[in-house]
Symmetry: C2
Subunit: 206 residues, 2 copies
């Protein structure tokens, strides 16, 4: 038997999320969180760098996965194909089936400026990881940077659309639809052939 109850980090995370939903992020103090989890303030900062991080630690592994997936994707795929495949493979499974809890988390994040900032930093870390992957594929620095930014834009936009959607559409579909729409905007087909193109691609993908 251990001297302390196990799972300190997870208890802190759960306690923090509950309190954030109940009182709002800014109104909750770290001592309140640790009191509910049965720990001390100092222990909170041993597990999380700051009060915000408790809402983002769960996705710490994503950047590394992105780099490897982009770098190892079959040669011959276009950048957009690599992006869509990578996001559907790595990201979509982290969304499907978790819509309710992710909606709660998003509401908390959007309610606080500081949390929005941290959210954007996490997205930027994913993009930086993507740059490394595309560089390993042989893309020049500029193309790799832009491709990684596009990936970040697609996952971000798709995530919001998926969370706003009330059907059970799988995240991978939304990702493909968003990528197609982005191609349309860049090539100036915005709104013209959009609907038809998207459904065809979505059906092909499913």
């Amino acid at each position: 038997m251990s001297r302390w109850e196990p799972g300190a980090a997870e208890r802190l995370r759960a306690a923090a999320l509950d309190l954030f939903v109940e009182h709002g992020f800014a109104a909750v103090t770290v001592p309140q969180i640790t009191a509910r989890a049965g720990l001390t303030t100092r222990t909170f900062f041993r597990h999380f760098a700051d009060k915000r991080e408790v809402l983002f630690a769960h996705e710490a592994a994503l950047p590394g996965l992105m780099t490897r997936f982009f770098a190892d994707a079959p040669p011959g795929l276009t950048p957009m194909e690599v992006i869509v495949e990578g996001l559907c493979t790595l990201v979509a499974p982290r969304f499907d089936g978790l819509k309710d809890s992710l909606r709660v988390r998003r509401q908390v994040v959007l309610s606080d400026e500081g949390l929005r900032e941290r959210d954007l930093r996490k997205r930027a870390l994913i993009a930086e990881a993507g740059v490394a992957g595309f560089r390993d594929r042989g893309l020049d620095e500029l193309s790799a940077t832009l491709a990684a930014q596009l990936a970040a834009t697609i996952i971000d936009t798709a995530a919001h659309r998926w969370l706003d959607d009330d059907t059970d559409r799988p995240m991978a579909d939304v990702i493909r639809e968003t990528a197609a729409a982005l191609t349309g905007v860049v090539t100036d087909q915005a709104g013209t052939a959009l609907t038809g193109v998207v459904t065809d691609q979505a059906k092909a993908g499913a």
Copy 2:
């Protein structure tokens, strides 16, 4: 004669930048800044919401300008044309001729996690403003969101490339080049005009 020396905000900004360059952002305290500017701590927070904001307040007007420019651009232009014209008109003049001071500022921002976060938040505010403009142009919500994200990606990437460039190339040129490269990545011409390597690999794979 005034009771206090005029230009309190500008004095604070200059003092802060000097100290940040000299000691690093984290090592500088607000009382140090205000002491150099001949003011009190409380006055600093009357002019800037927090310690980071002193490095970003100068671009507070950009989002509003972006919204109006995008919304008022001549009808018939494609989204990418609107983006490039808007950025060249509104943003490029804020760069040309200021390369040295902007390089100093970038170095400070990149040296601190918190400043990077704030930087990303400012970019996101520009993107949000862009969405409003494209919506006013008649684009659907998804296309407007993606177009605004593309604009943010282009300005961000172009700014870094311009700062890394040692020639006197005007910012507008870099913006156009970056936009063209982005179109190339999306339509899979990445490297065609740049290296030629990737295209060969793609053709071999396909």
